[in-house]
Symmetry: C2
Subunit: 418 residues, 2 copies
Amino acid sequence: MPDTTSDTASAPITDIAFLQGVKVVDFTQFEAGPSCTESLAWLGAEVVKIENPNRGDPGRRLKPGLPDDDPYYFHIFNANKKSITVNLKSPEGLAVVKDLIRAADVVIENFAPGAIERLGLSYDVAKEINPGIIYAQVKGFGEGSPFEKNLAFDMIAQACGGTFSVTGDPDGPPTRPGISLGDTGTGMVMAITILGALYKKQQTGEGHRLQVAMQDAMLHYMRIPFSTQGKTGKIAERGGAKVPGIGNAPMGLYPCAPGGPNDYVYIMTSRANPDHWDKLLTLIGRKDLIGDARYLTPADRVENEPAVDALIAEWTRGLTKYDAMAAVGEAGIPAGAVLDTGELQNDVSFEHRGIMQTMIHPAHRPFKMPAWPVRVDGRVSRVTASPVLGEHTDQVLSDWLGLNAAAVEALKTGGAVS
Amino acid sequence: MPDTTSDTASAPITDIAFLQGVKVVDFTQFEAGPSCTESLAWLGAEVVKIENPNRGDPGRRLKPGLPDDDPYYFHIFNANKKSITVNLKSPEGLAVVKDLIRAADVVIENFAPGAIERLGLSYDVAKEINPGIIYAQVKGFGEGSPFEKNLAFDMIAQACGGTFSVTGDPDGPPTRPGISLGDTGTGMVMAITILGALYKKQQTGEGHRLQVAMQDAMLHYMRIPFSTQGKTGKIAERGGAKVPGIGNAPMGLYPCAPGGPNDYVYIMTSRANPDHWDKLLTLIGRKDLIGDARYLTPADRVENEPAVDALIAEWTRGLTKYDAMAAVGEAGIPAGAVLDTGELQNDVSFEHRGIMQTMIHPAHRPFKMPAWPVRVDGRVSRVTASPVLGEHTDQVLSDWLGLNAAAVEALKTGGAVS
């Protein structure tokens, strides 16, 4: 699966300037915080990562001792940002950061509980420096939760937030959704809230403290299981490929040729469209079953679901997932092939549309990655390189604080920045 | 699992007014669009659903023929909004909607491809009426995608967006993540982009067309699998409860007492913290294995993962998941119990913190639901009732268009609104 340089020469890519002039002091690390600030950067904000001079964001080095040895994890969440390296343990370094906070619109952190306060950069301190600051914090668990002091990573937040409990085979154990919803899902709800606060700040200048817990954010994404529980009165269950509580068949994954691990097509007939079933029977060459009492109503088909699924699988096994998706889709019935990361990576239509772009980075080979997926006037926000550790120290100290070269040099000599 | 009325009398709930004065004309239905506009409503925007007088948002009636028979699905995605019923097929009804668009900041729709244009409310029409309009569209597939005309529901978007391919048992078939990421995950990235556009509009008055495809939005949440593929050169695989590519053990779910379907605890030792393993051995009473060559390094433990997992499971089986989570967490090792919708629904700490709130609705019994999870100055946005179909027709026509009672009555008599 080698990276291929994108064919995006003609892709509709632009520099989105919605948030031009918005300054973000970004202490975040790993994914939950960085995914939040990256979305702001893609919309035009100036996001400055405050990094430890020795290691930087720990997401930079997944193998201890080797800097930036994994370009993917770090770069994919830190595109379009700047980096300044500051020694927060030195009084001069701390003073530099306070000056940056004074110049900023937003401060954001996702350290372990209590860490930002121990650094001397609590909300009260930041508000004192800059009463209009929007101060955003991402933690694993909420204040007042029985687990408020606990660390959380994506899997912990997902386990405690319910997503494991509704994912997997009905007869099997809880399963992790394969996406890092605990991190990026949390980052998205925080980004929305920051943007709401920025909108208001533009009118009034007012600042606010924003806090989100990853466990709490998971409940937001769990609203279908909660609504199913409300309707049935039972704890929401795992459905494998199906969606428990929908009460219609056929709905689910059907195996396709040539039988690889992801050779499946999802087919979903709608209860609101009774003709879906008859159309599907026609398509699979089983017109003889139209009107058959065993399969007449959605309830009948749910009752005979194994037989219904077998009828369809017999047909899908003879087709590739792409052909099955096309045929079922053309019959007006919702269908989707299960696509894997290789197929998605190699599908040039994503590049042609700018949805996948190649990051050109000074220290790493080019690699293709998903860009911000929302188009603005037909164009997608340009992906630019994630920062090399400390790349923008001089520039930011000059632009934000008006320091001249000699002043920056003095800070460097004193060990405050690097 | 009966709904219990919340004990939120003392919960820190407030009316967040970040988006006060922002007017949204909301044509959205089901979940992808409504989850987006609901987040705007929770931050203070005035969101007006434009609904068909006969049925309204099809999400209102999951059982044909019965209005609003499922309070959960509809109400959970439409809290804090208004509803006006307009006959878009009547010239006068269409004229009313155009007048609303003239008064609005945002228009948003997630109809099937081509439908909004057939209604005579394309972007070009809206822009002609209101050059500053932010016009947002959610579709299943992007323009220029091979599937651009296809319908999509959550499962289709997730299958085609890769999330099925990375979810499930390593030896089993692709599996649906149990959360509706295809819908709400898409709604969140659109909300962020709308808010970016609103920020800019406040300075310049400019409008924009925003478009997102559910399949494209899934790639944004798939960045860990893409980065894993980049690192390994192989298609991202399913990992069951584990995260493929992390290269550390122990990490995963361990069974707890009394052995119910969700009685598991997630334990995750970090490669960056070598002492996690020794601490865990001490906790589980196996100090004798500290320094044992079979389990010395992360690589050793990955190689002997079944034995490692068995050691831990032997200990966790004797504890409830809550006790195991507490004990492992207190030892400084990340851990999380798998919580199901019943346990989350009944955990009063969510209510005390305002993260779960009870919707009091005129037509339905009270029910508890997740609120917007981000706290603002320590408070959570208040959940108010979702609208009864057409509840705000008179109010919105008066407030937005300045129509008096006689003018509204004339529109009703003519069948334009109801």
